[in-house]
Symmetry: C2
Subunit: 384 residues, 2 copies
């Protein structure tokens, strides 16, 4: 069924998460209590109570004042980023990238090593565990060094130790398909030996902290959603494969069996050239062969057709492109996709014009950052 009953505890969690999300969205600039009240629809007094609790818990703090508008100036509140941390791990076919981020999503530390995703579960788990441990100790060392220089500035003590205490969990992103709800891998493309492996539970047992597992495209999309991209959008990833992450209503749409976002094997050319998946005329096959023969314009046009199908079906606000292939020729892909979408908008006569297209910001680290957001999202009520 759709929803469950809500009690007073649930009510509080919901409103607290909402306020935290707005604090996060405001960034270092902060946001005033009255603005929080306007945005949430709660009364100022309710916001005061909620922010009071958050300040007691150390999650929020005062950060100066706004200019007066004729009376007492508004006090600005901000999220305390160091109050919580998360680690995001991006497992790719040949490399492992891990980041430690704070509550605001800012990367505090980063590591990268080579990895063979086909080396077996134990080897990969060991690698992940080593990198996670290294990330925390790395911060300890850095913090110790920084402390020597910053004794007089009154910087917060603790360093890596404090990070370990505030570590909310580890998020892992890797190529799908997989079952996000249970944290079990399916037939990861190219590595059938992973089929059925309970990655989440295995890693959680090893690390002793909560673990969340999701597809790389979903992680990237979530990272973008929490990184400022409001509204609904589709993140289209063009790399060795072609996938999508859908953000609807602030959270990632994963579908009934958490398999949503299979964008690459959308048939776009009935009875077209065969695809590795066994079907014919898949978007992925058409797009990647065009890329292989250097015809980026055609690749972008094909990708645009798929994007247009998606936009029409879901009526989303924006399309964001990412992945190695896009990064190599951003202009060609953006303009090619935009052209198709603009033509669609002209035909439809849609008010407000075509759906905008852009390259997803974040670069090569985006997926690892998004993986960390898998852990942080529930704190801000973005559990999807």
């Amino acid at each position: 069924m759709s929803g469950a009953g809500v009690n007073l505890l649930g009510l509080r969690s919901h409103n607290t998460a909402l306020v935290l999300d707005l604090l996060r969205g405001a960034g270092a600039g902060g946001i005033s209590r009255l603005e929080l009240a306007e945005r949430t629809g709660l009364t100022p007094q309710a916001v005061s109570k909620i922010t009071g609790r958050l300040r007691e818990e150390g999650l929020a703090a005062e950060a100066g004042r706004r200019a007066s508008t004729g009376g007492k100036p508004r006090t600005v509140l901000r999220l305390v980023p160091e109050a919580g941390h998360a680690i995001g791990v991006h497992l790719d076919r040949d490399e492992l990238r891990a980041v430690l981020v704070d509550l605001r999503g800012t990367v505090v530390a980063e590591r990268r090593t080579e990895l063979d995703l086909g080396a077996g579960a134990d080897a990969v788990l060991t690698s992940v565990a080593a990198e996670v441990a290294a990330l925390v100790t790395e911060v300890v060392t850095e913090a110790a060094e920084a402390a020597e220089a910053a004794v007089l500035t009154g910087g917060a003590p603790g360093g890596g130790d404090a990070v370990a205490r505030t570590l909310l969990g580890v998020g892992v992103a890797l190529p799908g398909p997989l079952d996000h709800a249970h944290g079990v891998l399916h037939r990861v493309t190219g590595y059938p030996e992973w089929d059925g492996f309970p990655l989440r539970d295995a890693l959680a047992a090893r690390l002793g902290v909560p673990v969340v597992v999701d597809k790389d495209t979903n992680a990237a999309a979530l990272g973008l959603a929490l990184g400022g991209a409001g509204g609904s959008f589709a993140y289209l990833h063009v790399g060795t494969g072609l996938g999508a992450g859908l953000v609807i209503g602030g959270g990632v749409h994963r579908g009934a069996r958490t398999g949503a976002g299979e964008f690459g094997h959308q048939v776009i050319q009935l009875d077209g050239p065969p695809c590795g998946c066994g079907d014919r005329g898949c978007l992925e096959a058409l797009c990647l062969t065009a890329v292989a023969r250097g015809d980026l314009a055609e690749a972008a046009r094909v990708l645009g057709a798929g994007a247009a199908n998606l936009v029409g079906l879901l009526d989303i606000d924006r399309v964001l492109l990412g992945g190695r292939t896009v990064a190599g020729a951003a202009g060609a892909f953006v303009s090619g996709v935009a052209t198709v979408l603009a033509a669609r908008a002209r035909r439809e006569g849609v008010a407000g014009g075509a759906v905008p297209v852009a390259v997803a910001p974040g670069g090569a680290r985006a997926i690892a950052e998004g993986a960390a957001q898998l852990v942080l999202a529930p704190v801000f009520g973005r559990a999807g």
Copy 2:
């Protein structure tokens, strides 16, 4: 942004709607308090309070008892269908169909007349107003006649008068595209003169009751969602055009500009035959020309390809087919679409097998019934 703050009033509405939805779903058989508690996650005492309020308001009533399981037998509660009514109007190109339904969605009265959707706003509005008025008085008359025969049985008095008092509103379904949020029509296919017409407000002013406007496919999908089809599904409508209604999380997904569900102009054959919309290779063009030349197998295969794209993208539970064309050859369409989806499931190796396909129940009246549900849905927390 995604969500708004919730206060105690909102909390109560939510839980009340949840309980009403479960009561509705249980049908005439009813449901016990403890079962409601289990399904909602609320405590039995909270459910007792909520159902107590509902009984005071006349929305719920006791309906016998279950067999004892060793102790005091459970009291069964049921929705009181006559406590609320809604009218659903289906405007098609050449006919107007209107139904009066009770809270449970059961059709109490029905009317049908010819209509020229191109006859101008005033003529159409007059027609709708006349049918709506006739529906209510029709019930008055029937109830009066029935009352004579049922004086001794103690049937509820009032008849049509009571219906008028409990009328929650009128839902109108018609071919899109349109803006559901504002109740304004766009370029209704074939009738450009409707572009920009504020149908909802114009009709609400005329009738004096709340009016909701939506696409016919969304209405049909909502009717199916409230008519017992749980989970997420896509309703694919094949008539003079080809559209889809998407149900995700119990409610209809309409998208940012409430234009979602544009299934027919999904490009499925790049650079294929031209479509009326100006693009090439649209699903609608391929499917309908196949139908026109009598090749139902090909039409079903094409439809199946589109359905498979949709299933992969959103990971939905089920596909339901409807519309005049499907009704004419249900077997061919269902098996054709099912074949494509089964092939997809085999390739993916999905646990649980292929997404099931079926003909949507309800027949020609389904869209009008769904239109009525547009009004009832908020009562049951299905506002989408």
